[in-house]
Symmetry: C2
Subunit: 319 residues, 2 copies
């Protein structure tokens, strides 16, 4: 038996600040048509795929920030993408900034959705691991204010779609082994991840030359250690003066990269993924029911860090 | 500032079933002298480094099994290794099968110890993730009866030694991201791991060609994701007819392999490790206190697997 899903990693080149949603959606639609022509069931777009990566700037005016957010999905400019998906019978993952009102309170999330072949949203995910900082740090060449502009999501769900168990994560989530494991424990077979990753990390420039290596390392390990496909998709290239890595790729449950983009522009990379390849990992080396030892893992939820407990209090001294 | 630890990965070639402890200890001592001559502070030996890898056989007679176990450490045959360490002023990690009596009950563990420059044991670790199976499975070319011959240890501790925070794991532990994270949450700066890994995995031979790739992938990811050095050391080569991978290596907190063995025999690979290289990862990308989100990780300790809760009951159906 084989359960094939043909997937396209739909990498985007830079989006200028001046570019309109309508212009960006036209780029997404062009890639969707290309992926469909190439036989794909699903195309994965990057994180925050509708605008430039705005957390690189410090804005004082909330109204200016909110212009980067979507108040409804689909909205006026994005509906055409949903319509095309339905027309072609192809699904998609899309990252965007979400503004919503919950119990009278405005909430802002870094969000992704999974849309099926009928144009219906079948899973929504809100980024858990927000990187960067919350206050303006003028010494940086550019800001990374995700901790200021978003609040973290609650967790990692999965859903049955495209013949398998699908999950989602966003950008910095991919560096954290917990991301993959929580979905692995729900039987995930394909994890979809969009990202925007500057080559230069102002607090640790000594690692800049390793950005692409780290990008692949964490996704390959997450795939292998959970017996799942991983699809990682960049917004790449020099955007508003900041260089972002590409490296979009599709990874098998073996941890092997089976397709990858080679440019830093709009480009699709395609792989024919047999979801049944997950089985031999999930049933042998990574048969969690047989081999995991949760009683040894308590610290993972009890502590936030080396010095702080999960509830924010200091770690008590050793007995 | 820099805190250097010069480490040797002390890889062993095969140990025949007929080989005595005294003969093996002589091989370990020869490598220890070599590492000392090359300026090392610490040499890391493999898992179960005193005998052949006996879980490959099904024994009916417990007395025959117990011949592979140590009842004291150091014992009559291993004392010379401790004495040499003290004489040279070099530390070591040693894996062995431990038989101990706790509250009148005989316990058997797959154990490692960390010995300091004075010949004193400063940390003991008992393998948490026992691979393989508990019952005789005659269809296999060879057995992997760790689940029969050992019981799992309780967890992953660390200690201050060699100027840094040191932790240990054994073989299959290295495939599990929880292993590194639990030590990372205690500030580990160097994780020492011995292993015996057959090239051929009878339940999933379709992955045999990837054994070395997987070996490196999991240790490199564990290093990077926790900002720690990792030293992985094999018992390698064809032992009693079973081929084991080599691939012993020393990995920097960047995830880069900075030293590796190239044979499958007795061989040391050396790296001069600046423990302060951990800092830039632990303070930026992997500053756990700032970036982890334990409220999203509950499932990691609540569940054992996809179908079983941590307490052994079935996973309840989705609400």
């Amino acid at each position: 038996m084989a359960r094939f899903v043909n997937v396209a990693a739909g990498q985007l080149g830079p989006i200028a600040k001046s570019e309109t949603r309508t212009e960006v959606v036209a780029r997404l639609m062009a890639m969707m048509r290309r992926a469909h022509a190439d036989g794909c069931d699903l195309i994965v777009y990057p994180e925050l795929a509708l605008t430039t990566f705005f957390p690189r700037w410090y804005f004082e005016d909330q109204a200016e920030i909110d212009e980067f957010f979507e108040r409804e999905m689909p909205g006026a400019e994005t509906r055409r993408l949903f319509d095309l998906a339905r027309e072609l019978g192809i699904g998609f993952y899309l990252g965007y900034a979400e503004l919503t009102v919950e119990a009278g309170i405005v909430r802002r999330y870094n969000t992704s959705i999974l849309v099926d072949r009928t144009g219906a949203i079948v899973l929504k995910y809100r980024k858990v691991h927000l990187p960067g900082h919350a206050e303006h740090e003028p010494w940086r060449k550019f800001q990374h204010l995700e901790k200021r502009y978003f609040e973290p999501g609650a967790g990692f769900g999965v859903t049955s779609a495209f013949g398998g168990v699908m999950g989602m994560a966003i950008c910095n989530d991919r560096r954290w082994s917990e991301t993959y494991r929580v979905m692995g424990l729900q039987g995930v077979e394909m994890v979809l991840i969009g990202y925007n990753t500057p080559v230069h990390n102002p607090p640790a420039p000594e690692h800049d030359h390793l950005s692409l290596f780290h990008n692949h390392l964490v996704m390959q390990a997450g795939a292998y250690q959970n017996g799942t496909f991983v699809v990682g998709v960049a917004k790449a290239g020099i955007e508003e003066g900041v260089e972002h890595i590409g490296g979009s790729c599709i990874i098998a449950p073996s941890g092997e990269i089976i397709a990858s983009c080679t440019t830093t522009g709009d480009e699709i990379a395609i792989a024919r993924c047999d979801l049944d390849l997950c089985n031999s990992y999930k049933r042998t080396t990574f048969n969690f029911d047989v081999h995991r030892q949760p009683r040894a893992y308590g610290m993972i939820v009890e502590r936030k860090g080396v010095t702080t407990m999960a509830d924010g209090t200091p770690v008590p001294p050793k007995a």
